[in-house]
């Protein structure tokens, strides 16, 4: 397993947002995380990416414990993410946003730039080319030089995906990447997700669009009230009575 989350607990005051949740993500797998509102999906991403410390539990990435590490260390170990409420750098262009995302894979060049060394110029050109290629992958090449604050919701989400992929992470956490998108855009994102997985990178996908989840995920974990209801292949999960109950409500 690339990522293994065990017995994860996180409380906010008296509320237990995560109550012993466990998730296993294999290399190259697209893993869906679904559940009703307030089930703890986003909290799980926040704890895994280091935004929140877990109250209890273990998070292991590739054999290394990462729970409690600061976010930039976790990113350096290979986990990047997008946000449910889009957190791009609004004053920067789409291209610049993706260039920031490449921070971990771009060599330091401050001194070399001061001395006008040709290698610094070459490195910058390479980083720019890689960022443009990522933007093409999410279908935004022609918007590369637009400020992201002026882009549509769907475009902003796609820039965020490109930014998260820019450091070639081992695992990408996508928090509702298709919210506010039309059907065609959703399909484009689905294609990108499958492509990412085909290169051996793993994806954790939090999504309310159940159809998309069933379409792109290899396995799914269903959360409710911070606990895992069930996990497994999409077919298995969608027929599970407790999942149906959690989503549609059960007769008392």
């Amino acid at each position: 397993m690339l990522l293994s989350v065990e017995e994860l607990e996180r409380s906010f005051g008296g509320v237990r947002a995560l109550d012993g949740a466990a998730v296993q993500v294999a290399k190259g797998e697209v893993h869906g995380l679904i559940g009703p509102n307030g089930a703890g999906k986003t909290t799980l991403l926040n704890v895994v990416s280091g935004l929140f410390r877990p109250t209890r539990g273990r998070i292991v990435l590739g054999g290394e414990r990462i729970d409690g590490l600061p976010p930039h260390r976790i990113a350096a170990l290979g986990i990047t993410r997008t946000y449910q409420n889009i957190r791009l750098f609004p004053g920067l262009t789409a291209l610049e946003n993706v260039m920031v995302g490449a921070h971990l894979v771009r060599p330091g060049d401050t001194l070399r730039r001061m001395l006008f060394l040709p290698s610094a110029r070459a490195d910058e050109a390479k980083a720019r080319e890689a960022a443009l290629q990522l933007l093409s992958r999410v279908g935004l090449r022609e918007r590369a030089h637009h400020r992201v604050s002026g882009l549509s919701y769907g475009d902003q989400r796609r820039v965020e995906i490109a930014r998260a992929l820019a450091s070639s992470p081992r695992l990408v956490l996508l928090d509702e990447p298709t919210a506010g998108m039309n059907a065609a855009e959703v399909q484009a994102v689905a294609t990108v997700i499958r492509q990412v997985a085909s290169t051996g990178q793993s994806v954790v996908l939090v999504e309310h669009n159940v159809q998309l989840v069933m379409q792109v995920c290899d396995r799914i974990t269903v959360l409710n009230f911070g606990k895992v209801i069930t996990h497994g292949e999409p077919r298995h999960v969608s027929s599970h009575p407790e999942v149906i109950a959690a989503y549609l409500g059960s007769e008392a």
Partner: protein, 298 residues
């Protein structure tokens, strides 16, 4: 061209102060460019000025060494100061750094070795205006080349959204601290330059109002590009002098009216050019475009 030479000679000290204020504005820009509102630089400037002046006056150290110490000592102090205070955000960081500035000022006021509130006088005059301009050029060059580098992108990302920057693997504390230290070094260097230009240093020259002046230069000029603060410093240093000349030409006494106009122009810039003087061309272009599109729509 004797006229031009005469002009430069007459206004030599004004040009020197434009350069010095430019350096101070850039020292504030160092922290502003990664979103940190620090008012500690008047304190760092004081430390640099005293360190440099004491070295030349009491230790008879060579002038370059005094300048170097004027930059290094504040930078060293900035490290242990920055580690705790840079955890604070926004206005809380501003308040903490104002506190630091006051501690430094009061420390010098009460230190008998440096003549308390009277400060040091008769410091040998060793700074030439061209040295100030060379220093300004070097700092501007460094900041210009920082733009577009990996660190430059990281700083912009931290300014825009620190949490998101961290989740891209950017160690934000390290970057913020580096720029805090760089700002302290520039401010201290400017302090040492100034001490050897004006022959004297006194604690009250480095109080709260000095800290605010530097910040205002940077904000009025524009704090999103490296040359903005220098433009702001030049504008606000020349403005009172230009108003003095203007009032005299109109036969008015350049007294309170000058300060009033100075304030009014400052207010106008802040109101109508929120991104600073350097955004003037962009603002005008946008205005023209809007007018044109309105005309086209009838």
């Amino acid at each position: 061209m004797p006229d031009l030479a005469g002009f430069f000679l007459t206004y030599q000290s004004l040009f020197a102060f434009i350069g010095l204020n430019g350096l101070l504005a850039l020292s504030v820009y160092c922290t502003l460019c990664c979103g940190q509102l620090s008012l500690a630089n008047a304190g760092f400037m004081a430390i640099g000025a005293y360190a440099g002046a004491l070295l030349t006056q009491n230790a008879h150290a060579p002038y370059p060494l005094a300048l170097l110490a004027g930059a290094l000592l504040p930078a060293l102090i900035a490290v242990p100061l920055g580690l705790p205070v840079l955890r604070l955000r926004g206005v809380f960081l501003a308040i903490a750094t104002i506190g630091f500035g006051e501690v430094v000022r009061l420390g010098f006021v009460n230190w008998s070795y440096t003549n308390g509130a009277l400060g040091l006088v008769a410091i040998p005059q060793k700074t030439q205006p061209w040295m100030i301009w060379v220093a300004l050029a070097v700092v501007m060059f460094a900041l210009a080349r920082l733009r577009g580098s990996r660190a430059g992108y990281a700083l912009e990302a931290i300014r825009e959204d620190e949490a998101a920057a961290r989740s891209m693997g950017i160690p934000s504390t390290r970057y913020k601290l580096s720029m805090f230290v760089a700002g302290a070094a520039v401010a201290g260097f400017a302090g040492a330059l100034e001490a050897h230009l004006t022959y004297m240093v006194a604690p009250n020259g480095y109080g709260f109002s000095r800290a605010v002046d530097m910040l205002v230069y940077a904000v009025v000029g524009g704090d999103t590009v490296f040359y903005g603060p220098v433009v702001g410093a030049a504008f606000l240093t020349v403005l009172p002098e230009a108003l003095r000349g203007g009032a005299r030409a109109l036969g008015l006494s350049p007294g309170p009216l000058r300060m009033f106009l100075n304030g009014a122009i400052l207010l106008a810039v802040i109101l109508f050019l929120p991104n600073g003087i350097v955004s003037l061309p962009r603002t005008l272009r946008a205005l023209r475009l809007r007018k044109a599109s309105r005309a086209a729509l009838g």
